[in-house]
């Protein structure tokens, strides 16, 4: 449905992305993961036909975005990073305008707009001015305009950024519901979001694709719980020794934070040994004040992935 081959984009001498290639099957939800400035937005802008690539081609629904721009653009629904709305229009007027721009027939627009209001849960705000809407609802209007013309391909740039947590959950549900009918590309820098919403993950770092894999395999590869932070009251050296003896512990580090004894326990990848760790402390009668799993930050994942690749190369 989407095929990108060797996409490269230079801004002056600066390469925003280099040699980005991937393909998306119909109905697939693909997540672009990467820190800010990694090149996610640039890649999306090339696919939507907003920016021409310096080199490489992108084919959307069988149309090359540069050779047949109008046909390619007609098969895409796009939500840019800053939700672009005309503040002087009501939600309904705005959606009608977007529908007409995409060449939909008036009667079709009318029925579709009502469907989309339901899908994006905008029923209460149909005749509100866009300028009066909160950020979360603007985001929904943005998604509404993207799916209005039932495009086979959806490109959503950071669809859950800057909205409150409850709305984030709802927005994710909306997006998840769109997969199957649409091929969806979405970008995010929130790690759990990818595993919740996407079938496949594509990690971009400094303009290049670092990893392309399914969400399950990626999280298996990176391990679930990898590090546990424990705050324990008791004899320091004995605790450290006891922790190291628990099956599955790789390393125990001690950090004194504000007079408290904190142990950072590095676990073998893919194993959750929190219960064993707690039992080891309780059996000996030491006071376990706190135990929490420390997830990997995006930066650590990049670090792991890049070093992992080097190891396999070596």
């Amino acid at each position: 449905m989407i095929e990108a081959r060797g996409l490269t984009k230079f801004y002056g001498d600066f390469p925003a992305i280099e040699d980005v290639s991937f393909a998306a099957e119909p109905g697939e939800v693909i997540g672009f993961l990467g820190p800010n400035g990694a090149g996610k937005t640039t890649t999306m802008r090339i696919i939507t036909g907003f920016t021409p690539p310096t080199a490489g081609t992108a084919v959307v629904a069988g149309h090359d975005v540069q050779e047949e721009p109008l046909e390619a653009r007609a098969s895409i629904g796009y939500l840019p990073e800053t939700v672009p709305l005309y503040t002087d229009m009501t939600v309904r007027e705005y959606l009608h305008y977007m529908g007409e721009l995409r060449g939909m027939r008036k009667s079709h627009i009318r029925s579709r707009v009502d469907d989309v209001f339901g899908l994006c849960r905008l029923e209460e705000y149909t005749d509100s001015l866009v300028s009066k809407l909160s950020k979360g609802y603007r985001q929904r209007v943005g998604i509404a305009q993207a799916i209005l013309h039932e495009p086979p391909v959806l490109v959503l740039d950071e669809p859950t950024i800057g909205i409150d947590p409850r709305q984030v959950v709802e927005t994710r549900q909306i997006i998840r519901g769109l997969g199957g009918d649409h091929t969806v590309i979405l970008s995010t820098h929130i790690l759990p979001e990818v595993s919740m919403v996407c079938d496949r993950v594509l990690i971009i770092h400094e303009g290049r694709i670092v990893v392309m894999d399914t969400a399950e395999r990626l999280s298996a590869r990176l391990g679930g719980v990898s590090r546990v932070v424990m705050d324990v009251r008791g004899p320091r050296d004995q605790i450290q020794q006891a922790l190291s003896q628990v099956d599955g512990v790789v390393e125990v580090q001690l950090s004194d934070a504000g007079g408290r004894q904190q142990f950072v326990v590095e676990c073998a990848p893919g194993r959750d040994i929190r219960i064993e760790l707690a039992r080891a402390m309780a059996d000996r009668g030491w006071g376990l004040v706190e135990l929490r799993a420390m997830g990997l930050s995006l930066e650590e994942i990049f670090l792991r992935l890049t070093t992992e690749d080097e190891e396999t190369a070596a």
Binding site: L70, D88, E93, L101
Partner: protein, 247 residues
Amino acid sequence: MNVRTIRTIWLRELRSYANSPNAWVIAAIFLGLTGLAFALSVTGRYPEATIRGFLFGPIGPMGAFFLTILIAPALTMRLLAEEQKLGTIELLLTAPVRDIEIVLGKYLAALTILTGMYSLTIYFPLQLFFFGSPDLIPLLTGYMVLFLVGAVAVAVGMLGSALTANQIVSAIFSLAILLVLWLFSATAALGDPDHAWTDIVTFLAMSEHIRDMAFGVLDTRDIIYFLSLIVFFLFLTVRAVETRRWR
């Protein structure tokens, strides 16, 4: 080119003009000042039954021509600059719409508003018919050349609006181009009258091409001059919108 898309954009911009106070304020200023110009021109010691006072202004340049040059940038500055500022240009340029359709839709909207203002001045010549016996031809050609000047001014305004996301910068830029076009003839007077450049500069001056028509003489050269300017500036505007994709 898809006429339907142009119409969609045209209607949206017209609605936007109607909803914002700008166009109404500009129209009020235009009608007030041209009304004053007309009143002064027909109430002097030797009143004439013409609209030349309304077009050129009885004192200074404050007639419909010069006012058009002043108000056109104010009318057009929003059209593309705001889209760039709000980011809506990204949706417009990723919709299945050609750049030229965007430019023409917006251009025609601004021109429609301007033409609306002009048509509200029709009661000036109607008064002439009521109180005197004016020649019909200079009235018709006068309004025609006023429309052409307006069409050029709006095209220049479109270019200014396409070049920047800042509406004020856009208006100043367009006004500067229009003033240069308007004042070219004065620049020509500075140079050697026998030099070839003098002729070229004089030919490019807008003020040189409005006089005949304002007095009732139709010359195809003048009409072609105005049409070429309109096409030229709209072409540059489409190009400027295209470069938006590269930035």
